[in-house]
Structure formats: structure tokens, C-alpha cells
Symmetry: C2
Amino acid sequence: MTDSLHVVGIGNAIVDVIASAHDDFLTKHGMVKGTMQLIDETKAEQLYAEMGSTIVTSGGSAANTVAGIASFGGRTGFIGRVRDDALGAEFRHDITAVGAHFTTPPATQGPATARCLIVVTPDAQRTMNTYLGACADLGPEDIDADLIRSARVTYLEGYLYDREPAKEAFHRASALAHEAGAKVALSLSDSFCVNRHRDAFLALVDHHVDILFANEAEIAALFESSDFDTSIARLRELTAIAAVTRDVKGSVIVTPDRVIDVAAAPAAQVVDTTGAGDLYAAGFLFGLTNGEPLETCGRLGSLAAAAVISHVGARPQTSLRELLAQA
Amino acid sequence: MTDSLHVVGIGNAIVDVIASAHDDFLTKHGMVKGTMQLIDETKAEQLYAEMGSTIVTSGGSAANTVAGIASFGGRTGFIGRVRDDALGAEFRHDITAVGAHFTTPPATQGPATARCLIVVTPDAQRTMNTYLGACADLGPEDIDADLIRSARVTYLEGYLYDREPAKEAFHRASALAHEAGAKVALSLSDSFCVNRHRDAFLALVDHHVDILFANEAEIAALFESSDFDTSIARLRELTAIAAVTRDVKGSVIVTPDRVIDVAAAPAAQVVDTTGAGDLYAAGFLFGLTNGEPLETCGRLGSLAAAAVISHVGARPQTSLRELLAQA
């Protein structure tokens, strides 16, 4: 690697399988709208059989962010586990096609490549059902130290905390990044995920995370408070930079000294909100690692989020660099 | 089958692999914008490796039409060959998920399920590269006579003429439909396909086809004339009903007695024209098999085409029945 990277992402390497459905489909299957639940392979097969016609395209929270940064023209890498199967090949194709370095070798045995069965309701909300498959075996041995050291920011998804070896991988990567003088960024991923790991996440944010991404539901879960101002005040004490997304209300960037409101960017249409948070993080980190002021980072995040919610699927379908040039 | 079917489609069972690219990608790979070319598996692998990040979703011209009719609430069946592989399972899932009868068993040996590598340029045009795979083995033995006899219309894609056994399947199905007192519909598929099979198609349209679907380029190729009025005059002599799509100019429905102009329906945005012709045929045939007048058939075609060009992918992402109820 001759050039240093802007961002390396570490996360679950997942292929999304997306269908539209009405709200009664969620009710029938006991899903909580807007959240992610973990399912086993049997449940994944059952649910797939009952879903409508699907679109299959690469996903995974941190992987979506990496693909977004690459689409802006940023230099990126990704660490995550797939199997040597058709979906694994599709995941690898898609992330390398946008120019990201993806050096984690595919598993030659064990569970299949992970799938996330996503149901999109007419209100454009996405509800996710994840079979972790090969991701469940991600561990500290998968952390490519050279890749981490070469990046200005190492970006981790909170979902990694759902498996013990992935959590160890998370800590190894975070320690390597800090030793190399780089920053560590974390996405809280999902309010249920925060509920599962609240104390660990609070300690992480306090001691190990330099840049935090979350939405309103996730910080409410983190601080067990429905009062937004209270949560913001807590964030100012805990982190150097936090960016909290608020759907149509845009986002709030919080530092110990400042609270910056950023407007949402206009979306041509709102079809599927999958990836909105991931792409906000992409724009923000592309700006930050290119030395832009925080206001600009927030606007880049809004721009990328608006682009991805205008179609089905969690990754940009056209170049964000070109979109930015037009904007 | 207790109820009779509105339409049975026979065609190539293909999974689409779609990426966006600039025009220079077409030039570099010697593709002719807006057309379909047949490629072998090696070329398919090479092209996939060079394409950008993809979306994978079921396609196939007649299969898209069947899925569209089912989305309107029509009773449909499909005949086409997949392999017993992951893409074949995806194709089967998607067409049965919308309610179509799909009884052709998967091949247990031979080439893989067909793929169409589709490049979408910024002008929303699609350029297609098809590896026929398992479709190449479709033959007369695959024609389910009961399924054909149960349908009011048997719909065939011109692409079937690219393989001799599929052509025989075409003729067997067409004969069965007519013996049962049903109608035979044909899509001309592609101007290059028409050039390959002009004389055969002219004889077909004259003697065996009751309802013809084509676009301007295809009828120009069929009659070797760039004069639209000349082509329309020829169609009036040859067929009972022809529907010619004209992009933003809508469509023209031609019978021996009448020529009916139908406006295009407004599209929220034009992102990817893949499937526009297939979905026009879906709306048209849904109307026709429900006894609607030709004007209404044309308007239903326009509605379905406008829906499918507003997103990436050749099949409707939401219910056409609900869209129709709203319109």
C-alpha cells in the first residue's frame, strides 16, 4: 500500500436480500419496525420463502460506510468474513468494485456468507433480520495490522459486540489504531444492540472512541433517557466528536465545546431508508479525513444519506463524487 | 389448477446483474447501447469482474411480463429453464413470490442458471449482455401442455429463436394454445434479434401471432424501413393486434381497422429503462385478458412501464394492483 488510507472499516460482511411488504407482514412475523434482530439459518430460510420478490445487493453497516467513502473518492479498506460461496463472491465483487481494499480471505468451511433479510414497508422504513453465518467467526486473527496502521480512521460497527471473538477483534483493531496515532470511530448500530451492550458501550465511548455515530433511538438507549438535550449533554462529557442523526431533522454534531445543527439534504424521493446512517457516516468521515470543518462533514453526510434513501438498497447506485461535484 | 390463467409466459429464465457505468464503459467493451448481445461464460466472468457494484434481481423478458401481470393481480404461469443452483433458486423464489405458477423443474446438470449483465448509463438506457446458460437447453419437452391449455394467452419472447430447441418449444406451445382456442402473443425482444430471424418472424407474425409487441427499432428492423407510417401500414395487414412502444412518445396500438395513440404515463423519475417494454406488455395483457378495451390496455401498459423505469431493476418493486387503485 503506497498511499495511506482514509478509513478502514471492520464489520459484518453481509449480503442484503430486500423485499417490500405491508406492516401486517412485520406483525405476523413478530418484527419490531426499524430494528435489527439476529436469526438462525432455519428462520432465514423460512422468512425468505415467505418474502416477496427480492433484490440482492451487498450490505453490512461498516461495509456500506466504506463503500460510500470509496464512492466519494476516498481510499478505504474493509475487514470482515465471508464464506467461499456465491454470496461471498458477490460481497467481494461489490466492495472491491468501488476500489476498497478487502484482504480478509474467505472461510473455506463453516457457515455460509451472512444474509440480512430486509423488509421495506410503504413508509420507507427498513426492518432487518440478520443471519450472521460466516461473520460469527470473525476474530482478532482477522485484523490486518498493516491495514489498520495505514488508515487515518478505523471505523467499527457496534454489531460486532454481538459475538465474543468479533468483540476481541474490535479491541485489537482499536488498540492498533491508537498506537499508530489514528482515530477510532464507532457506530452504535441499533437501539436493541445498545440495550444488549449498554455498559460496555458506555465504557468504550468514554475511553476508546474518538468519533461516535448514533441516531436518536440509539443515544436514548445508551443513556436510558428520552430527553434529547440530556443525552447531548452526556455526549459532550464523553467524546471528542459525536454525530447524532435525526431523520428529516438532519443531524447534530457534538463536541465538548460546540453543538452544531446540520440540515437534512433534500431527497428526490424516500423509498428505502436502509443505509441512511451508514452513508451519513461515510460522508462525515470522508470530510473529516480530508481535513474539512465539522459543518462540512455533516453536510457531506446529509448528501450521501439523501442519495441512498432515494432507492432500494444500502449502497450508492451512482458516484457520490459526481453527485458532490454537481451539488 | 382450478382457475384458468390469464397468461402463461415462455422465455429465458434469467437473473439480472445490474451496475451503472458511463458511456465509455460501453465503448471500451464494444457494446451497442440499448441492445442485447449473447456472451459465453468466460466473457460473463470477465465483464462481471470489470463492472461496478451490482444489484442482483430476477429478470428475463417474458418472466418480467409474467411477474408484472401477477403484480396487477392476474393469474399467471411461466415456463423456462434454470439450474439447481443459487441463482436458479433466486429466480424461482421471485417468480413464485408474486404468485406465478412455475412448474419447470430445475436442471440437475449442464450449464449454470442464466445471467444478464446489464450496464445502465446516466441516460437511464440499459445495455444487456446475456449468458444463456441453462436456458440454452429449453426444448419442446419443457412445454407443460396443461399449463398452456389453461391460459387465455400464451406469451412468447423472440429471444427464444436464438436457440433451435427453444424455437421448437415456441412452436409446440403456440400450436397447443391455438388448439385450445387461446391467443398467442409475441414480443420481438430486440432489434438485433429481429435482424437474426427476420424472415422467420415475418412468417410468424403473418400466420401464428395474434398479439404483437415491439418497439420502434424492432419494427424498423422487421420491415427494413425507417419510416414509421410504412411499418404501421404493414402491421395492419399482418396482425390482429400490434402494440408498438415509442419511449416518451407513448405507444401506438394497431389493428386492421384502427390505429390508437396512447400517451406515456408520467414517471416520478427515469433511472433505468430495463423492463419498460416487458412491463408495458404486462399491463396490456392484464387488461386484454380481463376484457378491457384496447385504449385501457394501452394505458395499463403505460402505467406499468412508468413504474418500472423509476428504479433499478426490471420488475415492479411494489404492487401494481395498488398503484392502479391509486391512479
